[in-house]
């Protein structure tokens, strides 16, 4: 870590370290934004702003990747909470709303595996993505999701079983 690289308000974070995990964080932001790349970019930018201003402070207790994933997860949650409350307000007042014309990225919908993952409950989908695609341990994934490790394990086991069952039904073989 070069000294000039370190963020003023976050002494344990460097620009180069963030650049190294940029692709993975974007993937996570993409899945948090229902595969809307514009929203994902916005989430990424907000996450970097939080790190630059010190609002999100990394204390080196976990890995930087886990920490940045948590920041993105929290930002996505608060974003959708805001949107939901605005929608409720619009519905209550009966006012119209401009249509969002951004086309979401379709993550290879033809793949049976992807469809199976998308059909999983939200928590199971998240832990599968974090452990299988983002190279996290169950403990790290649970931290990002804001659940205990025990709960993370339960979601992980259920997700694996559900996925194997769905894929076996579709003709794939997953013998232990």
């Amino acid at each position: 870590m070069r000294d000039s690289d370190v963020l003023d308000k976050n002494p344990h974070v460097s620009r180069s370290a963030l650049e190294a995990i940029h692709g993975q964080v974007f993937g996570w932001a993409l899945s948090r934004s229902h595969y809307d790349p514009v929203v994902a970019e916005d989430l990424m930018q907000q996450a970097y702003v939080e790190l630059l201003t010190g609002k999100a402070r990394f204390d080196n207790k976990s890995s930087l990747k886990t920490f940045v994933f948590s920041v993105v997860q929290n930002l996505a949650r608060s974003r959708y909470r805001r949107i939901a409350s605005r929608l409720r307000l619009v519905q209550a007042t009966g006012a119209g709303m401009a249509e969002d014309v951004v086309q979401p990225v379709e993550p290879d919908d033809s793949a049976a595996l992807w469809r199976a993952v998308q059909e999983l409950p939200r928590r199971q989908r998240d832990i599968v993505e974090l452990v299988f695609c983002r190279d996290m341990t169950i403990e790290e994934a649970a931290r990002v999701m804001g659940v205990t490790t025990g709960t993370g394990r339960v979601h992980y086991d259920r997700a694996k079983k559900a996925l194997k069952m769905k894929l076996t039904d579709n003709g794939a073989r997953f013998d232990d």
Partner: protein, 120 residues
């Protein structure tokens, strides 16, 4: 991880990579935008802190310069010491009544009789 887990992981990772490929934005672009936004946030925070500090200084200065002419008291010591008579607060529901602590209270304390009705 079992073999089946590994197979599942490989397949899933490939599907995910296919989904994200060509969509990862340039780090430099996002970082530059974030740095600019962080600068705006910091300037706003400094402005807010400066305004709050200025308001506090003005409030303290005002408090020091403008001292109250007379301190307001609930009990007037002179009034208490000059007389032995105390007038109960009264209104239409509570008729005027005056007590003299030397004349009325000894009777009230020593007597076993009722004092002829309510005290006030």
């Amino acid at each position: 991880m079992t073999d089946s887990d590994t197979a599942l992981q490989d397949e899933l990772r490939e599907a995910q990579a296919r989904a994200e490929r060509d969509h990862v934005p340039d780090f430099e672009t996002i970082w530059t935008a974030a740095t600019a936004q962080a600068g705006i946030v910091r300037r706003r925070q400094r402005l807010f802190a400066g305004s709050a500090a200025a308001a506090a200084v003005v409030a303290i200065a005002f408090g020091l310069l403008v001292s109250p002419e007379e301190e307001w008291r609930y009990i007037d010591a002179d009034e208490l010491l000059e007389t032995t008579v105390w007038s109960a607060p009264s209104d239409s529901l509570l008729p005027d009544h005056q007590f003299d602590i030397y004349e009325d209270f000894p009777v009230l304390i020593e007597s076993t009789e009722t004092y002829g009705g309510p005290l006030l």
